[in-house]
């Protein structure tokens, strides 16, 4: 009985109202502590109290509303373009299954491009206007829509296809009646996570030279030492991102019977079938990426002063006289970054999985923690990065914590979901042997959680690289994030493009590495996932 109620804990249950109160009381308590703390440290120009934030927002409501309108408009356009691109790519992969590996590989590579460097490059490509804002928003969303959609299009049980075929219908009916219907929850899951990401992309785009928007106000407020404005803008950005997430969830529930799934990627099972094709796909992706890069320069006829092609980067890294020095600079920057990135990444994973397990053992707090975590997952990092560094300092702690936070939320949500996926019958068997909650956790729930955990761990690779480079750029001034920003301002475009290539390649390799660890572990603990 206990087991069953836990399995269904994701749906509204009898205890919901009490838990609802608990959540609101928790938030209220948090606000009170925040208010008190802000008054204690008011001389340090670090923290604004909730009342001060509110006062600022009331006073400058016109300014903030107009800025929000601009950023939201760009984010919405990027959201639409990015998601349409994702749907188009998924359609391509579905209609021509051989291309799927290449499509997802290229999509991952483009998703891994560091926005610190793509921002100024896009500004040069687009000239004045909102082009970079919209493009960065689109780039921030398309991958997180594409991957669940691809999973969804295959998520239908084989029996449904048999049914369609038994009626003598072909692939078209299969697509319309089975695949599209099965993919809807996954599509909505992607669209939901994409909303806050688009907002973040639009804000970062404003840093490349914009006249108005929340990103502009953020830069202004930090330099002006205007703590109320800094926190006020961050609060608005956070609230909008969360509302967009929650709102899309509500729309999704109108269309769907169940809430959208929280897991955004399938187990990395495809490559198991034959290990050779993984390499083939990787080579294919690399070749197409390099060719596309060179082709784009030729089509747009870009000025070689700032537009560096594959050969320029090869030259800068290997052949040029100062190639050794360039490699040295990059190696130092990357190692500085790794010192922050790796501890943050693993701490985030451990904390996410750990808290999820704790919540399964102590289910009472899950009602508060889960919605909070889902909401906080959508907090835009450009606004939080300066705040966290203000609070925790410019040392290693601030950066590591930020990376960990970026990894923590998706991992936590996915793991909690995974833990609840434990088959009820198996849990019943454990019940009948009077096995304790810990034994059930270790023997049933954790194996059931592993696919979700690894899916989160993979998606967390690009997310943590994004986090660390943004923090380095905006707050600490060290590592590869800072090197990219500096190279752009000093016109060292060989260095900038080399950094872009290395960061994207390392992120993509990190993603693949997590995937291979995943396959090894799932083969032992959850072989049924590797079908």
């Amino acid at each position: 009985m206990t087991g069953l109620s836990l399995v269904h804990a994701g749906r509204p249950a009898r205890g919901m109202t009490a838990r609802g109160y608990g959540a609101w009381l928790g938030v209220l308590g948090l606000l009170l502590v925040w208010e008190a703390l802000a008054h204690v440290v008011s001389g340090a120009f670090v923290l604004a109290a909730p009342t001060e934030i509110l006062a600022y927002l009331v006073e400058d409501r016109g300014l903030v509303t107009r800025a929000l309108g601009v950023t939201l408009g760009n984010a919405a356009l990027g959201y639409v373009f990015g998601n349409l691109a994702a749907i188009a790519l998924a359609a391509l992969a579905l209609l021509w299954p051989r291309s799927e590996r290449i499509v997802t590989g290229l999509a991952l590579l483009v998703y891994c491009l560091p926005l610190v460097a793509t921002g100024p490059i896009l500004r040069v490509l687009f000239g004045p206007g909102a082009g970079p804002q919209i493009t960065l928003a689109a780039l921030a969303v398309y991958y997180t829509t594409l991957i669940p959609l691809l999973v969804g299009l295959r998520a239908a049980p084989a029996g449904w296809f048999d049914l369609v075929r038994s009626y003598g219908r072909g692939r078209w009916s299969e697509l319309v009646h089975v695949r599209l219907m099965a993919s809807l929850p996954y599509l909505f899951a992607g669209l939901q996570i994409a909303a806050p990401a688009a907002f973040l992309g639009a804000m970062v785009g404003e840093f490349t030279g914009a006249e108005r928007g929340l990103g502009v106000l953020t830069v202004r407020a930090i330099r002006a030492l205007d703590v109320d404005m800094t926190w006020g803008v961050a609060t608005v950005a956070t609230a909008v991102a969360i509302l967009a997430y929650v709102g899309l969830g509500m729309i999704a529930r109108r269309f769907l019977r169940d809430a959208p799934p929280v897991i955004l990627a399938a187990p990395a099972s495809d490559t198991v079938r034959d290990s050779g094709s993984g390499w083939k796909a990787a080579i294919g992706v690399t070749v197409i990426a390099l060719a596309g890069w060179a082709l784009a320069f030729w089509v747009f006829d870009l000025n070689p002063f700032f537009a560096k092609g594959p050969m320029d980067v090869l030259d800068a890294l290997l052949l040029a006289e100062d190639a050794g020095a360039t490699r040295g600079t990059l190696a130092v920057a990357l190692s500085e970054t790794a010192v922050y990135l790796l501890p943050g990444y693993f701490a985030g994973l451990a904390a996410g999985a750990g808290l999820a397990m704790l919540l399964v053992l102590v289910p009472v707090i899950a009602g508060t923690a889960m919605p909070l975590a889902i909401a906080l997952r959508s907090v835009p990092i450009v606004t939080t990065a300066p705040l966290v560094v203000l609070l925790l300092g410019r040392g290693a702690t601030g950066t590591i914590v930020l990376v960990a936070v970026m990894v923590f939320f998706p991992t936590f949500v996915a793991c909690l979901h995974g833990l609840r996926q434990a088959p009820g019958q198996v849990l019943d068997v454990f019940d009948s042997f009077a096995a304790g909650p810990v034994s059930r956790l270790v023997r049933v729930r954790i194996p059931a959680m592993l696919p979700a955990f690894f899916a989160a761990a993979r998606m967390a690779v690009p997310a943590s690289v994004l986090a660390v480079t943004v923090v380095e750029w905006l707050a600490t001034g060290a590592g590869i994030g800072s090197l990219m920003a500096m190279s752009a301002s000093l016109s060292d475009f060989d260095m900038l493009w080399s950094s872009v290539v290395l960061v994207a390649a390392i992120s993509a390799l990190g993603y693949a590495l997590v995937g291979s660890v995943e396959r090894r572990i799932l083969r032992v603990y959850a072989p049924e996932q590797l079908t």
Binding site: G127, G129, G209, R223, L302, P304, A485
Partner: protein
């Protein structure tokens, strides 16, 4: 009127971005026919560029047949690429950044110098002040690591051992100084000290230009091609700049008010803008500009720049500066 034009540009830019990049890349001549020119600013809109706003507001550019767009910069918006690509006819750079770009193959010349004195200062609090470079010894200085060569140059110029200074990497905010994490900050005379003053905090600033750090700042740059083929536009643009900045100097408060009026969405505070505008004047105007006009330089100031730039690791020759446009403006 101005915002409308910019909005239209933005919409065009969004939709036909790829096309636009191609057209703009094709060449300045097409733009010339419409007398449509862009000035790429080095930062977000503020009274830092108020001279340009005055020129636009009073119609001095449109009288001369120019339709000028002022393109804002930002934390991730390098100035040099849009000038190279032709998106902007002129950019607001600084001698050190221009020298770096020229080393990378950009065909730039400096046409005018808005900030005769480099705005870099070491800002500190009155109870633990840095009044001269020797005071830096034993202090913790907060700065972006990217600016290490700047500090190194100051130390070399003043025989200070840089190893005696503790560099704390910070980004651009006065907060670490107020929190006591550092004893001083490397920043601009016109921003963080202004922000502190507005918050009611007195600070001491040591202008690096007063201690041998000679790097022209807020310099106007254009490509050799533009200087050869678009002289009329350049002269008209610079002429408006010169008039604008002379008017700015007459009434910096009015310039700050105009800034707020033209860019109501930039999140600017009037008092901050007024103070910034006033503090900028001694950096931009000197005996040299008094006798020769706004933006001027001499062989001596160029020689001093070349010396300081060498300390920053930049090798430049005097022909990086081209005074012909400015001579035409002031001669007319």
């Amino acid at each position: 009127m101005t915002p409308d034009r910019l909005t239209r540009r933005r919409l065009l830019g969004t939709g036909a971005a790829a096309l636009g990049a191609g057209v703009l890349g094709l060449g300045p001549r097409r733009l010339h026919a419409q007398s449509n020119v862009a000035l790429q600013l080095s930062w977000l809109h503020s009274s830092q560029f108020a001279g340009s706003y005055i020129a636009m507001d009073r119609g001095w550019w449109s009288e001369a047949g120019l339709d000028v767009s002022l393109l804002p910069g930002g934390p991730n918006a390098p100035v040099e690429p849009p000038v190279v690509s032709g998106t902007a006819l002129v950019g607001i750079s600084a001698a050190d950044y221009t020298a770096a770009a020229v080393e990378e193959g950009a065909p730039f010349k400096i046409l005018g110098v808005a900030m005769q004195k480099n705005p870099f200062v070491v800002a500190s609090l009155p109870d633990n002040p840095v009044n001269e470079p020797a005071d830096l010894v034993g202090k913790r200085i907060g700065m972006a690591l990217a600016n290490t060569p700047v500090l190194q140059a100051l130390c070399t110029l003043n025989d200070v051992d840089m190893n005696e200074i503790d560099i704390i990497p910070t980004q651009y905010s006065a907060q670490p100084l107020l929190a006591g994490e550092v004893d001083c900050l490397l920043c601009w005379e016109t921003d963080l000290p202004v922000a502190m003053a507005i918050q009611g905090i007195d600070s001491v600033t040591m202008l690096m230009a007063d201690h041998g750090y000679a790097v022209h700042s807020q310099t106007y740059i254009a490509t050799n091609d533009s200087i050869a083929n678009r002289r009329a536009d350049l002269v008209a643009l610079m002429s408006g700049e010169v008039r604008g900045w002379e008017a700015y100097r007459q009434d910096t408060d009015a310039a700050a008010e105009l800034t707020i009026e033209m860019y109501p969405d930039a999140g600017l505070d009037l008092e901050t803008q007024k103070l910034q505008a006033a503090r900028q004047v001694p950096l931009m105007f000197s005996d040299l500009t008094e006798s020769n006009g706004f933006g001027w330089w001499t062989d001596d100031t160029v020689a001093a720049n070349i010396e300081t730039l060498a300390l920053l690791g930049r090798t430049v020759t005097p022909d990086l500066w081209d005074r012909s446009i400015l001579e035409e403006v002031h001669g007319a």
